[in-house]
């Protein structure tokens, strides 16, 4: 128990450090200048790193919120009697969807929603992120031993009580693992989505590529990498926390 909270504290500290480092534009310009002494600009001129991080997180949080709000209920629904008919269809769709390249999903959304706004990116991220969440939810609920469900029903729990007090708590770790995969993929895909005008940490990278400015590329890449690793370890801690003891 103590060990778990130490992990949480460490990750929390990491987040604070990341936030501070990102806000110190002067440090970045110092380091990047020393690496690329000959370039005219070494930090992204159009937006501060802090703004880019906020944009990026905005994209990911909005899309992941949509993903979770739809994905988990869908996963639950197809394991209930009322949705059992759709279970195979949903599983097949999720399997197929996970083989789609994320950039292809992004590309397919463009003609539908138009370029230059974050909307197609958010829709694409939310859709693509749905697959691991749904499959995690189904797998998690499937992993609950039938004997446990029997016991719960035998004790007189209603269907909703069984779901909320027994099934979801026992499935929480696997569901969270799906959410974690989904969010990490979204952070990565959101970087690419900058090419469609969605903003975020991909912007300095693309700007750097277009102007052959390695410093800008590095600025965006380093921040995006740190953000992803931090988010991953945060979600790993959440996974630990929702795992029932024992």
């Amino acid at each position: 128990m103590r060990r778990r909270w130490t992990g949480v504290a460490l990750v929390g500290a990491g987040a604070l450090v990341f936030g501070y480092v990102v806000s110190r534009e002067d440090w970045w310009s110092l380091v990047l200048r020393s690496l690329f002494p000959d370039l005219p600009v070494v930090v992204f001129p159009s937006a501060t790193l802090g703004q880019l991080v906020v944009q990026h997180l905005g994209l990911v949080l909005v899309s992941s919120a949509v993903t979770i709000a739809i994905g988990i209920p869908v996963g639950v629904w197809v394991t209930r009697p009322s949705g059992r008919d759709f279970r195979e269809l949903v599983s097949a769709t999720v399997d197929l969807g996970q083989t789609f390249p994320p950039i292809a999903v992004l590309a397919l959304m463009m003609p539908l929603f138009g370029i230059g706004t974050p909307l197609p990116a958010i829709v694409a991220l939310a859709l693509y992120g749905m697959f691991p969440v749904v499959s995690g939810t189904v797998a998690g609920l499937d992993s609950v031993p039938p004997a446990v469900l029997d016991a719960a029903r035998g004790m007189g729990m209603g269907r909703w009580q069984v779901l909320f007090r027994v099934e979801l708590p026992l499935a929480a770790r696997v569901i969270m693992a799906g959410v974690r995969t989904s969010v990490i993929i979204n952070i990565g895909t959101a970087t690419v989505a900058a090419a469609t005008g969605a903003g975020g940490l991909g912007s300095p990278i693309f700007s750097g590529i277009n102007t052959q400015n390695g410093a800008l590329v590095l600025e965006g890449a380093a921040a995006a990498a740190m953000l992803a690793v931090l988010a991953d370890s945060m979600l790993a801690r959440v996974e630990d926390l929702v795992t029932p003891a024992g």
């Binding site: 690496l35 008919d85 759709f86 195979e88 269809l89 097949a92 197929l96 996970q98 083989t99 789609f100 390249p101 994320p102 950039i103 292809a104 590309a107 397919l108 463009m110 003609p111 539908l112 138009g114 370029i115 990490i184 952070i187 990565g188 895909t189 959101a190 970087t191 690419v192 090419a195 469609t196 940490l201 991909g202 990278i205 693309f206 750097g208 590529i209 390695g214 590329v217 590095l218 965006g220 890449a221 380093a222 995006a224 990498a225 992803a228 690793v229 988010a231 991953d232």
Partner: protein, 390 residues
């Protein structure tokens, strides 16, 4: 009692709506009536104006009729008959949609010289998805083997016929393909070559690392955590981060080298992890028996552990392949001519059909790799252990 009710069931099947097929049919209907099936553009760059359903000619009305028929069947019929009607409707809807698209293209942009284009609208995608759902539901309702195969054959015939005589050649994505020509195929091959080469490297590095991980605890800890962290780094960011060390070595930060490095790194995790898990899940008593009968470590690995770990290892290779086929699109940003280039050009020039011309083949390659490697996995799995893996 049980026998009796079963025979009653056979005579008068219980009528229960096929909700999956109904959903698909309604989706297809919505695609026809609520969204544009096709859009007309004055030229390849401007946004399209939606066309009415009727622009697709008789085939469009047939599509609508088939969608209604499928919905009706899913509500009112039952048993094998329903499955067969649904299957026929699904094939018919796909065929009708293609002919409608072709009709609209051939009539509204008939001339080779005219800049006008007819492109695929959102409704068409929704209708295809709906028809696919009907198909899926019908196949799962046991229409019989002959019908399943027959439907596939019919679909191929309809698609080929539509391609040859249905005017599909005037559809804007096909025109776009004609414009790109050799560039398209070179993008396809570059895409496959980059992904394939990297996959080869990843197997060559990852399998030994996985074996070492299963033997030496500290290797496992080190390798799995390093590869795991690398995996979370966004692909574009990893490409960016590679610039500095490569430059320090005097190597280019763009082009195939950083691409292959990045793709290999991403492919490593599933391969290493599955090799490791595959080896460690081998029943210890089997290993003990092998050792007790005088197998050397190498013989034990090659004759016992490797065949038993192979299904999981190949599953790792499959996951890696699918993933890096996706990332191979991203390396187009650092000057590799993969299918990603078409997507980027499409975005840059706002040519939606060019974007599609990059994205659709990418999906097809990924799905083909997925299906192919799954089949390969079944092939190398001994029948003795086939049941345990699924």
């Amino acid at each position: 009692m049980g026998v009796q009710s079963a025979s009653v069931d056979r005579q008068r099947p219980r009528r229960r709506t096929d909700r999956v097929a109904a959903t698909g049919a309604i989706l297809a209907l919505a695609g026809c009536v609520a969204l544009p099936l096709y859009a007309l553009r004055a030229n390849r760059i401007v946004n399209g104006t939606p066309l009415s359903l009727g622009a697709g000619g008789p085939a469009a009305w047939m599509l609508l009729a088939l969608a209604i028929a499928a919905a009706t069947a899913s509500f009112s019929l039952a048993g094998k008959l329903r499955a067969r009607v649904e299957l026929a409707c699904a094939v018919g809807m796909m065929g009708a949609l293609l002919w409608a698209l072709g009709f609209a293209a051939a009539h509204l942009a008939p001339d080779v010289t005219s800049p006008a284009r007819v492109s695929i609208g959102a409704g068409a995608w929704v209708a295809v998805a709906g028809a696919a759902v009907v198909w899926f539901a019908a196949v799962h309702a046991r229409p019989g083997r002959a019908w399943r195969v027959g439907a596939l054959v019919a679909l191929v015939v309809v698609v080929v016929a539509a391609a040859m005589w249905g005017g599909l050649g005037r559809l804007s994505i096909v025109l776009e393909y004609a414009v790109q020509g050799a560039a398209f195929w070179s993008a396809v091959w570059t895409h496959i070559a980059l992904a394939g080469t990297s996959l080869g490297f990843a197997v060559a590095i990852g399998v030994p690392l996985g074996v070492a991980s299963s033997r030496i605890p500290w290797v496992r800890t080190a390798v799995l955590s390093i590869v795991g962290v690398m995996q979370t780094v966004p692909s574009l960011a990893l490409l960016g981060l590679l610039v500095v060390p490569l430059a320090a070595l005097g190597l280019p930060g763009i082009g195939p080298l950083p691409a292959i490095i990045a793709l290999t790194v991403y492919a490593l995790l599933p391969i290493v992890r599955n090799t490791y898990v595959g080896l460690t899940q081998v029943d210890p008593s089997v290993v003990d028996a092998g050792r007790g009968m005088g197998m050397s470590r190498w013989q034990l690995l090659t004759r016992v552990e490797a065949p038993l770990a192979m299904p999981l290892l190949l599953e790792g290779v499959r996951a890696a392949a699918v993933m890096i086929i996706g990332i191979a699109a991203v390396v187009a940003f650092i000057g590799n001519g993969t299918l990603g280039v078409l997507v980027i050009l499409g975005w840059g020039g706002q040519v939606d059909d060019l974007t599609l011309l990059g994205a659709v083949p990418m999906v097809l390659i990924a799905v083909a790799a997925d299906v192919g490697l799954r089949a390969a996995g079944r092939l190398v799995t001994s029948p003795g252990i086939r049941m345990e893996v699924s």
